[in-house]
């Protein structure tokens, strides 16, 4: 039995709105989106001239260019030397490459007992189906330990450079939080984010957890999770993200991840060097709980990478979480 709606009631339904939108009479975007249009840029020749003068003066003050002939000469020669240096480097590299063993040759020095053992015995010795993961997290774990600390050091350097320490009682102004020229509460973006972010983060977790079973691992999975967090931040703004991800969260997470990594690897380095049998079972290859410590290490690396990506983003955008 069909129901007949009155004109007014029909106007409230979804299908009417869709019809209107389809006919081009109504834009759902218009009233729900607040966006401050960027002011038209008017050329101000005097001000620009003044700025240029000021810059010149400042440079002059620092380098004393006007009474510093070597600097003047240096500026002139600089470009020439730059170009010459680039060409020199390119030529050197091309010459070197042309003498290297050719690609794909069977007799290459790289095809030696090192890579052969990785390929033939990797699964048996590390328990990881993905031999790349087995290599970076078991055979050459010391390098990867260093590499994850490189990420941490880089984040700390960015914190030193960009973190804006608020004085007590000082609130973010709109300008500082860098949200003036951005769409606020963009419905489309928020809807898409709501749909997309959970699968993105789930996928990231999957990539991390299955790093020892197939392509993936901590670095790639962490990058996926970091990207998901950045998308969420873009859609919902800082007010929502800082509820669950502050600087403290980042630090605690990365310290515990790196500490866990250090401890786990210390154990395996110590037992390895002192010829003590490690008690960690390798498990059945192919099972999710297998390959010894690799799963744990992958999770640690994933946490560090995700945190690093997110921290870089917020630091470059606002200078604080």
């Amino acid at each position: 039995m069909s129901r007949k709606l009155s004109e007014e009631e029909y106007k409230k339904t979804l299908s009417y709105r869709v019809e209107q939108w389809f006919a081009g009479q109504r834009d759902p975007y218009l009233e729900h989106l607040r966006m401050k249009p960027q002011a038209e840029r008017t050329p101000e020749p005097e001000r620009e001239e003044a700025l240029r003068e000021e810059k010149k003066e400042r440079l002059d003050k620092v380098y004393r260019i006007s009474d510093n002939r070597p600097v003047k000469l240096f500026e002139k020669l600089y470009r020439i030397f730059c170009i010459a240096f680039c060409f020199f480097l390119v030529a050197m590299l091309l010459i070197a490459v042309s003498f290297l063993p050719s690609y794909g040759e069977d007799e290459k020095p790289v095809n030696n007992e090192v890579s052969r053992r990785y390929i033939e015995k990797g699964l048996q010795e590390t328990g990881a189906v993905n031999i790349v993961t087995g290599m970076i997290l078991d055979y050459r774990a010391f390098d990867t330990l260093g590499e994850s600390h490189v990420l941490f050091a880089a984040t700390c350097t960015v914190l030193i450079l960009l973190r804006h320490d608020k004085k007590k009682g000082e609130r973010d102004t709109e300008e500082e939080s860098d949200r003036v020229y951005e769409p606020k509460n963009d419905v489309i973006l928020q809807m898409v984010t709501k749909v997309l972010v959970p699968p993105i983060i789930l996928f990231g977790i999957y990539v991390i957890l299955c790093g020892h079973l197939g392509p993936g691992g901590g670095f790639s999975g962490g990058a996926v999770i970091g990207a998901g967090l950045i998308l969420y931040l873009n859609a919902f703004g800082f007010a929502k993200t800082e509820k669950f991800f502050s600087e403290k969260t980042y630090k605690v997470l990365s310290v515990s991840a790196l500490g866990c990594y250090c401890l786990a690897k210390s154990y395996s380095f110590y037992t390895g060097a002192n010829h003590i049998e490690s008690v960690i079972p390798l498990g059945t290859p192919g099972a999710i709980l297998s390959s010894g410590l690799i799963l744990v290490l992958n999770i640690c690396v994933g946490i560090v990478v995700a945190g690093t990506m997110y921290t870089f983003y917020v630091m470059f955008r606002k200078g604080g979480y």
Binding site: G146, V150, L161, D165
Partner: protein, 504 residues
């Protein structure tokens, strides 16, 4: 396996973990942790040194369950352990001497980040010293570069940011060249472990195969590390980075970071390529020319400088030139002289930075040399310390600089082709050193004129030892270290010789 043999690994892991841990601590706790970590690492390295001296041979420590070409390994000998002890001592003294400046110059919320950087830097230096794997070396070179950048720019003024950017660009160029060199070597030999590469490289040199890419790989690695350790034509980043960063950063950067890279270069010479092959490849002649040029031009720039910190920074260029000149001689004696100069310069340059800051403290924080008139009377200990450092740099007997100069001269006598150039360069460079260092010493012991000196005396204060206990203690320890290196050079040179024998 003796338990002591684990100590290098413990010291690396301890300083590595102390880095992230400092980031959740408060500034004060992080400072205490940092001092403890440096001390413990020093003690562990000293125990290792005693152990290695006892057994008389180096040993290899497997990092993990997999042996030589498959897993990572570190290698510990007399030279490595001795260098680690020295680095820890100097770093502890630098941190002690610059503690007051750090409190003033670093924002309160970022104090702990400084210690994160220092801990990671210590870890990377230890790893660079001990590693037996070229790629591991590269990873820790990265940590070293990034944390050094952090140390420069944590005092946030325009000039330090600029200096950090410059340092970053030059240093990354150096890392890139080093990485390219490693990649070439890997492609030619299929190995990343140092002594395995060496076997392959020796084979290649006998057959004459891949001669050109091998040469290019060697030169890329040498030039990359030369850029990172500020050899003469690549030193543009140095004066600002050392001159404007906070005191302990400047001292650590000049006396440790550049030395870490130089030590890696020595490792590459001896353990990756083989010293005889390096000598035959003529790459060292390039290093020799740049080294000699650096000895002269660095000093000339220092003479023209009016800012005391920048003057000391430029003097580093000259001293790094000495070290590379020693490499360039291509003899073991030259190498021993260079390694001794690494120690001597590391001890003296940080001493000079700390003493110079003691002098500027009593001169209203102004750093122009004119303003330091009479500063030696206002802060007596800093005056004495600066004089010791200056005399050591000039090569006055009793101090460490004298020994390294005499070792360089002796090494030059063994080398026919380069003897004249080396000896003349040493003489000229010594005179140039004397020109700017003794000028400053005379300046700080010239009393202020009784009349008309008001303008220059403005803001001058008097500091006694008890006013700045940490810095005074650091200065006294530095003087002691310098005298120790200068007076007991014989056993140290023996130690270096023994270490080099074990090294190859």
């Amino acid at each position: 396996m003796s338990f002591v043999q684990n100590f290098p690994f413990f010291s690396i892991l301890l300083s590595l973990f102390a880095g992230p841990l400092s980031s959740v601590l408060s500034g004060k706790a992080a400072k205490a942790l940092n001092a403890a970590v440096i001390t413990i690492a020093g003690i562990l390295s000293a125990a290792t040194l005693v152990f290695v001296l006892g057994t008389g041979e180096s040993y290899v420590y497997t990092m993990g369950h997999f042996p030589a070409p498959w897993g990572n390994e570190i290698r510990v000998g007399v030279l490595e352990a001795g260098m680690a002890v020295f680095f820890c001592i100097v770093m502890l003294l630098c941190m002690m001497g610059g503690a007051a400046e750090r409190l003033l110059e670093i924002e309160e919320g970022k104090q702990n980040l400084y210690y994160v950087m220092v801990n990671l830097l210590l870890c990377s230096l230890l790893a660079l010293i001990y590693t037996k794997d070229l790629f591991t070396a590269y990873v820790f070179v990265e940590i070293n570069t990034i944390s050094a950048c952090g140390l420069i720019m944590i005092r946030q003024t325009g000039r330090t940011i600029e200096a950090a950017v410059r340092y970053m660009i030059m240093s990354l160029l150096g890392s890139g060249l080093l990485l390219l060199g490693i990649v070439f070597l890997y492609d030619l030999t299929g190995q990343l472990l140092m002594d395995h590469i060496k076997i392959q490289v020796q084979l290649l040199s006998v057959t004459g195969e891949y001669h050109i890419p091998l040469l290019i790989a060697i030169s890329f690695m040498a030039v990359g590390l030369a850029i990172k350790s500020a050899l003469f034509p690549f030193h543009a980043w140095l004066p600002d980075a050392y001159g404007y960063s906070t005191l302990s950063s400047a001292a650590i950067l000049s006396s440790l970071v550049s030395k870490g890279y130089i030590f890696l270069l020595i490792k590459i010479f001896y353990q990756v390529i083989g010293f005889d092959l390096i000598v035959r490849s003529k790459v060292i002649n390039v290093l020799f020319v740049f080294g000699v040029a650096g000895m002269l031009f660095g000093s000339v720039s220092a003479i023209r400088e009016k800012d005391i910190r920048r003057m000391i920074a430029f003097s580093s260029v000259a001293q790094i030139g000495y070290i590379y000149m020693g490499f360039g001689l291509g003899t073991t004696a030259g190498m021993i002289a260079s390694i001794f100069h690494i120690l001597s310069h590391g001890a003296t340059k940080s001493l000079l930075f700390v003493a110079a800051s003691g002098l500027t403290d009593v001169s209203d924080k102004r750093r122009s040399i004119r303003r330091l008139t009479g500063a030696g009377y206002r802060n007596r200990l800093a005056g004495v310390t600066f004089t010791v450092g200056a005399l050591s740099m000039v090569g006055f007997p009793m101090f460490s600089g004298f020994i390294s100069k005499i070792l360089f001269a002796q090494a030059a006598m063994e080398n026919d082709g380069k003897m004249l150039v080396t000896v003349v360069a040493l003489a000229v460079s010594t005179i140039l050193n004397a020109m700017y260092f003794l000028k400053t010493v005379i300046r700080i012991y010239t009393p202020l004129p009784a009349d008309g000196g008001e303008e220059e005396a403005e803001g001058n204060t008097v500091l006694r030892m008890r006013d700045c206990p940490a810095k005074s203690l650091a200065m006294i320890c530095f003087i002691a270290l310098n005298l120790f290196l200068g007076l007991s050079s014989e056993p140290i040179v023996d130690l270096i010789r023994k270490g080099l024998d074990m090294f190859a």
